[in-house]
Protein backbone atom coordinates (compact mmCIF):
# COMPACT_ATOMS: atom_id res chain seq x y z
CA UNK A 1 0.00 0.00 0.00
CA UNK A 2 1.16 3.54 -0.67
CA UNK A 3 2.44 5.89 2.02
CA UNK A 4 1.62 9.47 2.95
CA UNK A 5 4.41 12.06 3.24
CA UNK A 6 4.31 11.77 7.04
CA UNK A 7 4.56 7.98 6.96
CA UNK A 8 7.57 8.17 4.64
CA UNK A 9 9.48 10.51 6.96
CA UNK A 10 8.66 8.37 10.00
CA UNK A 11 9.70 5.21 8.11
CA UNK A 12 13.04 6.68 7.04
CA UNK A 13 13.92 8.06 10.46
CA UNK A 14 12.94 4.83 12.22
CA UNK A 15 14.99 2.70 9.84
CA UNK A 16 12.06 0.98 8.18
CA UNK A 17 10.80 0.72 4.64
CA UNK A 18 7.22 1.49 5.66
CA UNK A 19 5.05 2.13 8.71
CA UNK A 20 1.32 1.92 9.37
CA UNK A 21 -0.86 4.24 11.48
CA UNK A 22 -1.01 3.24 15.14
CA UNK A 23 2.51 1.75 15.23
CA UNK A 24 4.84 3.21 17.82
CA UNK A 25 8.40 3.64 16.58
CA UNK A 26 11.60 5.34 17.72
CA UNK A 27 12.80 7.96 15.25
CA UNK A 28 16.10 9.80 14.76
CA UNK A 29 15.48 13.55 14.85
CA UNK A 30 16.97 15.70 12.05
CA UNK A 31 16.44 19.11 13.67
CA UNK A 32 15.27 20.20 17.13
CA UNK A 33 14.09 23.72 17.99
CA UNK A 34 13.52 25.32 21.39
CA UNK A 35 12.76 28.89 22.42
CA UNK A 36 13.62 30.92 25.49
CA UNK A 37 10.51 29.81 27.42
CA UNK A 38 10.68 26.08 26.67
CA UNK A 39 14.43 25.72 26.24
CA UNK A 40 17.64 26.27 28.20
CA UNK A 41 16.00 27.55 31.41
CA UNK A 42 14.25 24.16 31.69
CA UNK A 43 16.73 21.89 29.91
CA UNK A 44 20.02 23.25 31.29
CA UNK A 45 19.44 22.12 34.90
CA UNK A 46 18.04 18.76 33.74
CA UNK A 47 21.05 18.08 31.47
CA UNK A 48 23.29 18.84 34.44
CA UNK A 49 21.29 16.54 36.69
CA UNK A 50 21.69 13.75 34.13
CA UNK A 51 25.34 14.62 33.46
CA UNK A 52 24.48 14.44 29.78
CA UNK A 53 25.61 16.28 26.66
CA UNK A 54 23.52 17.33 23.65
CA UNK A 55 23.61 14.51 21.12
CA UNK A 56 24.46 16.81 18.19
CA UNK A 57 24.63 20.59 18.76
CA UNK A 58 24.59 21.21 14.99
CA UNK A 59 21.02 19.86 14.91
CA UNK A 60 19.71 22.25 17.56
CA UNK A 61 18.12 25.66 16.93
CA UNK A 62 17.53 28.12 19.78
CA UNK A 63 15.39 31.23 19.28
CA UNK A 64 14.78 33.85 21.95
CA UNK A 65 11.39 35.30 21.06
CA UNK A 66 9.09 35.16 24.11
CA UNK A 67 10.94 37.34 26.59
CA UNK A 68 12.74 39.81 24.37
CA UNK A 69 13.20 42.73 24.52
CA UNK A 70 13.00 42.12 28.26
CA UNK A 71 10.30 43.88 30.29
CA UNK A 72 11.66 43.05 33.74
CA UNK A 73 14.52 41.33 35.55
CA UNK A 74 12.91 37.88 35.32
CA UNK A 75 12.91 38.17 31.53
CA UNK A 76 16.45 39.56 31.51
CA UNK A 77 17.55 36.45 33.40
CA UNK A 78 15.75 34.02 31.07
CA UNK A 79 17.41 35.64 28.04
CA UNK A 80 20.80 35.52 29.78
CA UNK A 81 20.46 31.81 30.65
CA UNK A 82 19.43 31.08 27.06
CA UNK A 83 22.40 33.00 25.62
CA UNK A 84 24.86 31.32 27.98
CA UNK A 85 23.49 27.85 27.20
CA UNK A 86 23.89 28.38 23.45
CA UNK A 87 27.44 29.61 23.95
CA UNK A 88 28.55 26.95 26.42
CA UNK A 89 27.05 24.04 24.50
CA UNK A 90 28.20 25.14 21.07
CA UNK A 91 24.80 25.86 19.54
CA UNK A 92 25.58 27.99 16.51
CA UNK A 93 21.97 28.15 15.27
CA UNK A 94 21.14 30.69 18.00
CA UNK A 95 18.95 33.71 17.28
CA UNK A 96 18.00 36.35 19.81
CA UNK A 97 15.38 39.01 19.07
CA UNK A 98 15.60 38.24 15.35
CA UNK A 99 12.08 36.97 15.05
CA UNK A 100 9.67 34.23 16.06
CA UNK A 101 10.93 30.67 16.43
CA UNK A 102 8.70 29.32 13.65
CA UNK A 103 9.69 31.98 11.14
CA UNK A 104 13.44 32.36 11.75
CA UNK A 105 14.33 28.70 10.93
CA UNK A 106 12.48 29.07 7.62
CA UNK A 107 14.24 32.36 6.81
CA UNK A 108 17.58 30.79 7.68
CA UNK A 109 16.95 27.76 5.45
CA UNK A 110 17.37 25.31 8.34
CA UNK A 111 14.22 23.37 7.53
CA UNK A 112 14.56 21.01 4.59
CA UNK A 113 12.05 18.85 2.75
CA UNK A 114 11.71 15.34 4.18
CA UNK A 115 13.15 16.26 7.58
CA UNK A 116 11.89 15.04 10.94
CA UNK A 117 11.67 18.32 12.85
CA UNK A 118 10.63 18.60 16.49
CA UNK A 119 10.02 21.90 18.26
CA UNK A 120 9.25 22.70 21.87
CA UNK A 121 6.32 24.93 20.98
CA UNK A 122 2.86 23.97 19.80
CA UNK A 123 3.12 25.90 16.53
CA UNK A 124 6.13 23.83 15.48
CA UNK A 125 3.77 22.27 12.94
CA UNK A 126 4.70 25.39 10.90
CA UNK A 127 7.89 23.77 9.52
CA UNK A 128 5.67 21.32 7.61
CA UNK A 129 5.33 24.08 5.02
CA UNK A 130 8.72 22.87 3.69
CA UNK A 131 7.47 19.30 3.25
CA UNK A 132 9.06 18.32 6.56
CA UNK A 133 7.26 16.23 9.18
CA UNK A 134 7.26 18.74 12.02
CA UNK A 135 5.99 17.78 15.45
CA UNK A 136 5.37 20.03 18.46
CA UNK A 137 6.51 18.64 21.82
CA UNK A 138 6.98 19.79 25.41
CA UNK A 139 10.16 20.76 27.21
CA UNK A 140 10.87 17.51 29.03
CA UNK A 141 10.17 15.57 25.85
CA UNK A 142 12.86 17.75 24.28
CA UNK A 143 15.26 16.74 27.04
CA UNK A 144 14.93 13.16 25.77
CA UNK A 145 15.69 14.35 22.24
CA UNK A 146 18.68 16.43 23.39
CA UNK A 147 20.16 13.45 25.24
CA UNK A 148 19.42 10.63 22.81
CA UNK A 149 18.67 12.28 19.45
CA UNK A 150 15.56 10.12 19.32
CA UNK A 151 11.85 10.39 20.02
CA UNK A 152 9.03 7.85 20.09
CA UNK A 153 6.20 8.62 17.72
CA UNK A 154 2.88 6.95 17.18
CA UNK A 155 2.38 6.89 13.43
CA UNK A 156 -0.61 9.17 12.87
CA UNK A 157 -3.49 8.66 10.54
CA UNK A 158 -3.46 11.33 7.83
CA UNK A 159 -6.34 13.56 6.82
CA UNK A 160 -5.90 15.19 3.44
CA UNK A 161 -7.28 18.69 2.87
CA UNK A 162 -7.78 19.46 -0.81
CA UNK A 163 -8.39 22.99 -2.00
CA UNK A 164 -9.46 23.32 -5.61
CA UNK A 165 -9.83 26.77 -7.20
CA UNK A 166 -8.05 29.95 -6.17
CA UNK A 167 -8.87 32.49 -3.48
CA UNK A 168 -10.80 35.52 -4.62
CA UNK A 169 -9.62 39.02 -3.82
CA UNK A 170 -10.29 39.85 -0.16
CA UNK A 171 -9.64 36.30 1.08
CA UNK A 172 -6.43 34.93 2.53
CA UNK A 173 -5.03 31.60 3.77
CA UNK A 174 -6.43 32.44 7.22
CA UNK A 175 -9.92 32.19 5.76
CA UNK A 176 -9.08 28.70 4.46
CA UNK A 177 -7.85 27.55 7.88
CA UNK A 178 -10.83 29.03 9.69
CA UNK A 179 -13.20 27.33 7.24
CA UNK A 180 -11.75 23.89 8.03
CA UNK A 181 -11.66 24.68 11.77
CA UNK A 182 -15.33 25.56 11.66
CA UNK A 183 -15.98 22.27 9.87
CA UNK A 184 -14.01 19.80 12.02
CA UNK A 185 -13.45 21.73 15.27
CA UNK A 186 -10.36 22.38 17.36
CA UNK A 187 -10.13 18.67 18.18
CA UNK A 188 -11.12 17.46 14.71
CA UNK A 189 -7.67 16.15 13.82
CA UNK A 190 -6.35 15.15 17.27
CA UNK A 191 -3.34 12.78 16.91
CA UNK A 192 -3.56 13.06 13.09
CA UNK A 193 -1.31 14.48 10.42
CA UNK A 194 -2.86 16.95 7.99
CA UNK A 195 -1.66 16.92 4.39
CA UNK A 196 -2.62 19.89 2.22
CA UNK A 197 -2.96 19.89 -1.53
CA UNK A 198 -4.74 21.18 -4.60
CA UNK A 199 -4.51 24.29 -6.75
CA UNK A 200 -5.82 26.51 -3.97
CA UNK A 201 -2.82 25.63 -1.79
CA UNK A 202 -0.10 25.70 -4.46
CA UNK A 203 -1.37 29.03 -5.85
CA UNK A 204 -0.59 30.66 -2.47
CA UNK A 205 2.62 32.62 -1.90
CA UNK A 206 4.98 30.95 0.57
CA UNK A 207 4.08 33.33 3.43
CA UNK A 208 0.45 32.32 3.04
CA UNK A 209 1.18 28.57 2.94
CA UNK A 210 2.82 29.03 6.34
CA UNK A 211 -0.59 29.92 7.82
CA UNK A 212 -1.98 26.50 6.87
CA UNK A 213 0.73 24.42 8.53
CA UNK A 214 1.13 26.88 11.43
CA UNK A 215 -2.50 26.43 12.44
CA UNK A 216 -2.55 22.64 11.93
CA UNK A 217 -2.19 22.48 15.72
CA UNK A 218 -5.44 24.43 16.10
CA UNK A 219 -7.22 21.34 14.71
CA UNK A 220 -5.42 19.25 17.34
CA UNK A 221 -3.10 17.80 14.69
CA UNK A 222 0.35 16.38 15.31
CA UNK A 223 1.66 17.81 12.04
CA UNK A 224 0.59 19.66 8.92
CA UNK A 225 2.51 19.08 5.70
CA UNK A 226 2.54 20.58 2.24
CA UNK A 227 4.31 18.30 -0.25
CA UNK A 228 7.06 20.40 -1.90
CA UNK A 229 6.84 22.13 -5.27
CA UNK A 230 9.20 24.48 -7.11
CA UNK A 231 8.39 27.36 -4.76
CA UNK A 232 9.43 25.23 -1.77
CA UNK A 233 12.88 24.64 -3.27
CA UNK A 234 13.18 28.30 -4.30
CA UNK A 235 12.87 29.27 -0.63
CA UNK A 236 16.16 27.46 0.06
CA UNK A 237 18.03 28.60 -3.02
CA UNK A 238 16.96 25.75 -5.26
CA UNK A 239 18.14 23.04 -2.84
CA UNK A 240 16.14 20.28 -1.19
CA UNK A 241 15.07 18.12 -4.13
CA UNK A 242 17.30 15.25 -3.05
CA UNK A 243 15.59 14.86 0.34
CA UNK A 244 12.02 15.69 -0.71
CA UNK A 245 9.36 13.03 -0.26
CA UNK A 246 5.87 12.96 -1.69
CA UNK A 247 2.71 11.04 -0.90
CA UNK A 248 2.08 8.00 -3.10
CA UNK A 249 -0.94 8.13 -5.39
CA UNK A 250 -2.44 5.16 -3.52
CA UNK A 251 -1.62 6.45 -0.01
CA UNK A 252 -4.22 5.71 2.63
CA UNK A 253 -6.07 8.68 4.14
CA UNK A 254 -8.37 8.56 7.12
CA UNK A 255 -10.48 11.06 5.22
CA UNK A 256 -10.21 13.63 2.47
CA UNK A 257 -11.84 17.04 2.97
CA UNK A 258 -12.57 18.92 -0.25
CA UNK A 259 -13.19 22.63 -0.61
CA UNK A 260 -13.18 25.15 -3.42
CA UNK A 261 -11.08 28.22 -2.54
CA UNK A 262 -12.97 30.32 -5.10
CA UNK A 263 -16.17 29.82 -3.05
CA UNK A 264 -14.68 31.38 0.08
CA UNK A 265 -15.64 34.65 1.71
CA UNK A 266 -13.72 36.28 4.61
CA UNK A 267 -14.16 34.37 7.87
CA UNK A 268 -13.76 35.20 11.55
CA UNK A 269 -13.68 33.17 14.75
CA UNK A 270 -15.90 34.50 17.52
CA UNK A 271 -14.18 34.92 20.91
CA UNK A 272 -13.49 31.80 22.99
CA UNK A 273 -12.14 29.26 20.53
CA UNK A 274 -10.62 29.29 17.04
CA UNK A 275 -13.36 26.91 15.87
CA UNK A 276 -16.22 29.38 16.59
CA UNK A 277 -16.17 30.27 12.91
CA UNK A 278 -18.58 32.39 10.87
CA UNK A 279 -18.41 34.64 7.81
CA UNK A 280 -17.03 38.07 8.78
CA UNK A 281 -20.37 39.58 7.78
CA UNK A 282 -22.06 37.62 10.60
CA UNK A 283 -20.03 39.62 13.13
CA UNK A 284 -20.21 42.90 11.20
CA UNK A 285 -20.69 45.85 13.53
CA UNK A 286 -19.16 44.13 16.59
CA UNK A 287 -17.27 46.94 18.30
CA UNK A 288 -13.50 46.53 18.90
CA UNK A 289 -10.91 48.34 21.02
CA UNK A 290 -7.81 46.91 19.41
CA UNK A 291 -6.57 45.32 16.20
CA UNK A 292 -3.51 43.11 16.50
CA UNK A 293 -1.28 42.05 13.62
CA UNK A 294 1.25 39.66 15.05
CA UNK A 295 2.66 36.23 15.81
CA UNK A 296 4.09 33.49 13.63
CA UNK A 297 0.66 33.25 11.99
CA UNK A 298 -0.24 36.73 10.87
CA UNK A 299 2.68 39.20 10.73
CA UNK A 300 4.79 38.01 7.81
CA UNK A 301 5.68 40.35 4.94
CA UNK A 302 2.63 39.36 2.89
CA UNK A 303 0.43 40.06 5.93
CA UNK A 304 1.90 43.53 6.46
CA UNK A 305 1.49 44.24 2.74
CA UNK A 306 -2.19 43.21 3.00
CA UNK A 307 -2.64 45.56 5.95
CA UNK A 308 -0.97 48.40 4.05
CA UNK A 309 -3.25 47.82 1.09
CA UNK A 310 -6.32 48.44 3.29
CA UNK A 311 -4.76 51.34 5.19
CA UNK A 312 -3.47 53.24 2.16
CA UNK A 313 -5.08 56.66 2.24
CA UNK A 314 -7.11 55.78 5.36
CA UNK A 315 -6.78 56.21 9.11
CA UNK A 316 -7.26 53.84 11.99
CA UNK A 317 -10.61 54.76 13.60
CA UNK A 318 -10.42 57.24 16.52
CA UNK A 319 -10.01 55.50 19.86
CA UNK A 320 -8.86 52.21 18.26
CA UNK A 321 -5.35 50.84 18.73
CA UNK A 322 -3.87 48.97 15.77
CA UNK A 323 -0.69 47.19 16.88
CA UNK A 324 1.79 45.65 14.48
CA UNK A 325 4.37 43.16 15.81
CA UNK A 326 6.26 41.83 12.76
CA UNK A 327 7.13 38.13 12.72
CA UNK A 328 10.84 38.83 12.25
CA UNK A 329 13.39 41.57 11.88
CA UNK A 330 13.73 40.60 8.25
CA UNK A 331 10.00 41.18 7.75
CA UNK A 332 10.34 44.57 9.45
CA UNK A 333 13.30 45.49 7.24
CA UNK A 334 11.46 44.50 4.07
CA UNK A 335 8.39 46.47 5.15
CA UNK A 336 10.62 49.50 5.80
CA UNK A 337 12.38 49.20 2.44
CA UNK A 338 9.08 49.09 0.55
CA UNK A 339 6.30 51.60 1.25
CA UNK A 340 4.44 49.09 3.42
CA UNK A 341 5.67 50.29 6.79
CA UNK A 342 5.30 53.99 5.92
CA UNK A 343 1.71 53.40 4.82
CA UNK A 344 0.87 51.52 8.02
CA UNK A 345 2.42 54.19 10.24
CA UNK A 346 0.78 57.02 8.29
CA UNK A 347 -2.58 55.43 9.08
CA UNK A 348 -1.87 55.70 12.79
CA UNK A 349 -0.81 52.15 13.67
CA UNK A 350 1.73 51.40 16.41
CA UNK A 351 4.85 49.39 15.56
CA UNK A 352 5.93 46.88 18.22
CA UNK A 353 9.11 44.80 18.51
CA UNK A 354 9.24 41.46 16.75
CA UNK A 355 8.40 38.52 19.02
CA UNK A 356 5.53 36.41 20.33
CA UNK A 357 4.12 39.32 22.31
CA UNK A 358 0.45 39.63 23.15
CA UNK A 359 -0.46 36.52 21.14
CA UNK A 360 1.01 34.57 24.06
CA UNK A 361 -0.23 37.04 26.69
CA UNK A 362 3.25 38.61 26.91
CA UNK A 363 4.81 41.98 26.22
CA UNK A 364 2.88 44.88 24.72
CA UNK A 365 -0.77 44.90 23.77
CA UNK A 366 -2.31 42.52 26.32
CA UNK A 367 -6.01 43.07 26.92
CA UNK A 368 -8.02 44.08 29.96
CA UNK A 369 -11.39 42.80 31.24
CA UNK A 370 -14.15 43.43 28.73
CA UNK A 371 -11.76 44.73 26.07
CA UNK A 372 -12.39 43.52 22.55
CA UNK A 373 -9.74 42.78 19.96
CA UNK A 374 -9.58 41.39 16.45
CA UNK A 375 -6.33 39.60 15.80
CA UNK A 376 -4.42 37.96 12.95
CA UNK A 377 -2.97 35.44 15.43
CA UNK A 378 -3.86 31.78 15.91
CA UNK A 379 -5.76 31.34 19.19
CA UNK A 380 -8.44 33.12 21.15
CA UNK A 381 -9.03 30.83 24.12
CA UNK A 382 -10.13 32.75 27.24
CA UNK A 383 -7.15 34.56 28.75
CA UNK A 384 -4.86 33.87 25.79
CA UNK A 385 -4.11 37.55 25.11
CA UNK A 386 -4.38 38.87 28.63
CA UNK A 387 -7.40 39.08 30.89
CA UNK A 388 -9.69 36.06 30.96
CA UNK A 389 -12.67 38.37 30.33
CA UNK A 390 -11.15 39.98 27.23
CA UNK A 391 -12.83 39.00 23.98
CA UNK A 392 -10.71 38.19 20.93
CA UNK A 393 -11.94 37.68 17.38
CA UNK A 394 -9.60 36.00 14.89
CA UNK A 395 -9.45 37.08 11.26
CA UNK A 396 -7.10 37.51 8.32
CA UNK A 397 -4.74 40.51 8.25
CA UNK A 398 -7.07 42.10 5.66
CA UNK A 399 -10.04 41.64 8.01
CA UNK A 400 -8.11 42.99 11.01
CA UNK A 401 -7.00 46.07 9.06
CA UNK A 402 -10.49 46.76 7.71
CA UNK A 403 -11.93 46.39 11.22
CA UNK A 404 -9.34 48.81 12.63
CA UNK A 405 -10.39 51.40 10.05
CA UNK A 406 -14.09 51.16 10.91
CA UNK A 407 -13.73 50.36 14.63
CA UNK A 408 -15.90 47.27 14.26
CA UNK A 409 -15.62 43.82 12.71
CA UNK A 410 -15.70 44.43 8.97
CA UNK A 411 -15.60 42.28 5.84
CA UNK A 412 -12.47 43.63 4.09
CA UNK A 413 -14.07 43.41 0.65
CA UNK A 414 -15.97 46.58 1.58
CA UNK A 415 -12.67 48.49 1.65
CA UNK A 416 -10.81 46.99 -1.31
Amino acid sequence: MGQTLSEKVIARTSGRTSVVPGEIVWCAVDLAMVHDSSGPRRLGPLLERLGAEIWDPSKVVIVTDHFTPANDQAEVEIARVTRAFAHDRGILKYHEAEGICHIVPLEQGYVRPGMLFVGADSHSTTAGVMGAFAVPIGATEMLGVFVTGEIWLKVPETTRIEWSGRLRDGCMAKDMVLTVLGEIGDDGATYQALEYGGEGVYALPFDERIVLTNMAIEHGAKAGVIPPDDLTFEMIGGAGRETAVYPDADAHYLRVLKHDASDLVPQIAWPGSPDNVAPATAAAGERIDQGYIGACTGAKYTDLAAVARILKGRRVAPGIRLLIAPASKDVMRRAAESDVLATILAAGATLLPTGCGACAGLGHGVLGPGERCISSTNRNYPGRMGHVEARVFLGSPLTVAASAVTGMVTDPRELL
Binding site: I24, S37, S38, R42, L46, R49, L50, G51, A52, H66, F67, D72, A74, E75, I78, A120, D121, S122, S124, P136, I137, G138, A139, T140, E141, L143, G144, V147, T148, W152, D186, D187, T190, Y191, G220, K222, S273, A360, G361, L362, V366, R379, Y381, P382, G383, R384, G386, V388
Partner: protein
Protein backbone atom coordinates in the same frame (compact mmCIF):
# COMPACT_ATOMS: atom_id res chain seq x y z
CA UNK B 1 -0.24 1.43 40.86
CA UNK B 2 -3.51 2.13 42.65
CA UNK B 3 -4.43 5.68 43.66
CA UNK B 4 -7.33 6.87 45.76
CA UNK B 5 -8.71 10.38 45.91
CA UNK B 6 -11.42 12.86 45.13
CA UNK B 7 -12.69 14.00 41.71
CA UNK B 8 -12.61 17.66 40.69
CA UNK B 9 -14.74 17.86 37.56
CA UNK B 10 -14.34 20.29 34.61
CA UNK B 11 -15.88 20.64 31.14
CA UNK B 12 -14.73 20.24 27.54
CA UNK B 13 -11.80 21.97 25.81
CA UNK B 14 -9.90 23.18 28.87
CA UNK B 15 -6.91 24.87 27.19
CA UNK B 16 -3.41 25.24 28.57
CA UNK B 17 -3.95 29.02 28.29
CA UNK B 18 -6.54 28.52 31.06
CA UNK B 19 -4.54 26.03 33.14
CA UNK B 20 -1.42 28.26 33.15
CA UNK B 21 -2.07 31.76 31.73
CA UNK B 22 0.81 33.13 29.62
CA UNK B 23 1.70 35.84 32.13
CA UNK B 24 3.01 33.17 34.52
CA UNK B 25 5.40 31.54 32.04
CA UNK B 26 8.29 33.70 33.17
CA UNK B 27 8.00 32.38 36.73
CA UNK B 28 9.72 29.27 38.02
CA UNK B 29 7.86 25.97 37.81
CA UNK B 30 7.01 26.10 41.53
CA UNK B 31 5.84 29.73 41.40
CA UNK B 32 3.68 29.13 38.31
CA UNK B 33 2.06 26.15 40.04
CA UNK B 34 0.53 28.50 42.63
CA UNK B 35 -1.72 29.75 39.81
CA UNK B 36 -2.85 26.34 38.47
CA UNK B 37 -6.26 26.43 36.74
CA UNK B 38 -6.55 30.15 37.45
CA UNK B 39 -8.01 30.90 34.00
CA UNK B 40 -10.88 28.45 34.43
CA UNK B 41 -11.42 28.13 38.19
CA UNK B 42 -9.98 30.75 40.55
CA UNK B 43 -11.09 28.59 43.53
CA UNK B 44 -9.03 25.57 42.43
CA UNK B 45 -5.96 26.33 44.53
CA UNK B 46 -8.03 26.82 47.66
CA UNK B 47 -9.85 23.50 47.15
CA UNK B 48 -7.24 21.12 45.76
CA UNK B 49 -5.70 18.54 48.07
CA UNK B 50 -2.74 16.23 47.51
CA UNK B 51 -4.01 13.06 45.85
CA UNK B 52 -7.01 14.61 44.06
CA UNK B 53 -7.94 13.74 40.47
CA UNK B 54 -9.06 16.11 37.74
CA UNK B 55 -11.86 14.73 35.61
CA UNK B 56 -11.95 16.75 32.41
CA UNK B 57 -14.14 16.78 29.34
CA UNK B 58 -13.16 16.21 25.73
CA UNK B 59 -9.88 17.58 24.40
CA UNK B 60 -8.36 18.34 27.80
CA UNK B 61 -5.17 20.45 27.60
CA UNK B 62 -5.67 21.91 24.14
CA UNK B 63 -3.50 24.65 22.68
CA UNK B 64 -0.06 25.71 23.79
CA UNK B 65 2.67 23.12 24.48
CA UNK B 66 3.61 24.90 27.73
CA UNK B 67 4.70 22.15 30.09
CA UNK B 68 3.84 24.27 33.12
CA UNK B 69 0.22 23.22 32.51
CA UNK B 70 1.13 19.63 33.40
CA UNK B 71 3.74 20.41 36.04
CA UNK B 72 1.44 22.92 37.79
CA UNK B 73 -1.29 20.32 38.22
CA UNK B 74 1.22 17.79 39.55
CA UNK B 75 2.78 20.27 41.99
CA UNK B 76 -0.70 21.40 43.11
CA UNK B 77 -1.35 17.81 44.21
CA UNK B 78 -3.20 16.26 41.26
CA UNK B 79 -2.03 12.67 40.70
CA UNK B 80 -3.99 11.83 37.56
CA UNK B 81 -6.20 13.46 34.96
CA UNK B 82 -9.10 11.45 33.57
CA UNK B 83 -10.83 12.61 30.38
CA UNK B 84 -12.56 11.16 27.30
CA UNK B 85 -9.51 12.25 25.30
CA UNK B 86 -6.61 14.69 25.56
CA UNK B 87 -4.88 17.13 23.26
CA UNK B 88 -1.76 15.21 22.27
CA UNK B 89 0.98 17.57 23.50
CA UNK B 90 -0.58 17.81 26.96
CA UNK B 91 -0.96 14.01 27.01
CA UNK B 92 2.76 13.50 26.41
CA UNK B 93 3.80 16.34 28.72
CA UNK B 94 1.78 14.82 31.56
CA UNK B 95 3.36 11.39 31.13
CA UNK B 96 6.82 12.94 30.94
CA UNK B 97 6.08 14.89 34.13
CA UNK B 98 4.94 11.82 36.03
CA UNK B 99 1.30 12.96 36.00
CA UNK B 100 -0.88 9.99 35.05
CA UNK B 101 -3.43 10.50 32.25
CA UNK B 102 -6.31 8.12 31.59
CA UNK B 103 -8.36 8.26 28.40
CA UNK B 104 -11.75 7.22 29.61
CA UNK B 105 -14.63 7.68 27.14
CA UNK B 106 -17.25 7.63 29.90
CA UNK B 107 -15.50 10.04 32.27
CA UNK B 108 -18.56 12.29 32.06
CA UNK B 109 -20.42 9.95 34.45
CA UNK B 110 -18.17 10.98 37.34
CA UNK B 111 -19.58 13.73 39.57
CA UNK B 112 -17.79 16.51 41.40
CA UNK B 113 -16.47 15.25 44.73
CA UNK B 114 -16.84 11.51 43.96
CA UNK B 115 -14.32 9.27 45.68
CA UNK B 116 -12.30 7.42 43.02
CA UNK B 117 -9.88 4.53 43.05
CA UNK B 118 -7.70 4.51 39.95
CA UNK B 119 -5.42 1.72 38.75
CA UNK B 120 -3.22 3.51 36.24
CA UNK B 121 -1.40 0.45 34.90
CA UNK B 122 -4.59 -1.61 34.52
CA UNK B 123 -6.52 1.38 33.14
CA UNK B 124 -9.37 1.13 35.63
CA UNK B 125 -11.34 3.94 37.27
CA UNK B 126 -13.61 2.86 40.14
CA UNK B 127 -16.16 5.43 41.30
CA UNK B 128 -16.63 4.40 44.94
CA UNK B 129 -19.32 7.03 45.57
CA UNK B 130 -21.58 5.94 42.74
CA UNK B 131 -20.44 2.31 42.66
CA UNK B 132 -19.33 1.73 39.07
CA UNK B 133 -16.09 0.99 37.25
CA UNK B 134 -14.97 2.65 34.03
CA UNK B 135 -12.32 1.33 31.67
CA UNK B 136 -9.62 3.57 30.28
CA UNK B 137 -7.66 2.98 27.07
CA UNK B 138 -4.75 0.73 27.92
CA UNK B 139 -1.43 2.53 27.55
CA UNK B 140 1.24 0.82 25.43
CA UNK B 141 4.08 -0.92 27.36
CA UNK B 142 6.77 1.70 26.80
CA UNK B 143 4.48 4.48 28.04
CA UNK B 144 3.58 2.41 31.10
CA UNK B 145 7.32 2.10 31.67
CA UNK B 146 7.59 5.90 31.69
CA UNK B 147 4.62 6.22 34.05
CA UNK B 148 6.00 3.55 36.38
CA UNK B 149 9.40 5.30 36.42
CA UNK B 150 7.70 8.53 37.52
CA UNK B 151 8.28 10.41 34.27
CA UNK B 152 10.86 10.91 31.55
CA UNK B 153 13.64 12.37 33.71
CA UNK B 154 13.91 9.42 36.12
CA UNK B 155 13.48 7.07 33.14
CA UNK B 156 16.40 8.76 31.35
CA UNK B 157 18.45 8.67 34.56
CA UNK B 158 18.06 4.89 34.73
CA UNK B 159 18.72 4.45 31.05
CA UNK B 160 21.94 6.49 31.22
CA UNK B 161 23.06 4.71 34.38
CA UNK B 162 22.52 1.34 32.70
CA UNK B 163 24.47 2.52 29.65
CA UNK B 164 27.38 3.72 31.78
CA UNK B 165 27.44 0.42 33.68
CA UNK B 166 27.97 -1.59 30.50
Amino acid sequence: MSLRGRALVYGDDISTDQITPGKYLKLTEAEAALHAMEGIDPTFMTRVKQGDFIVGGRNFGSGSSREYAASSLRIAGIVAVIAPFFARIFFRNAINQGLAVLECPEAGQIHEGDELEVDVLAGEVRDLTQGFTLTATKLPPHILELVAAGGLVPWLERKLAAKRAT
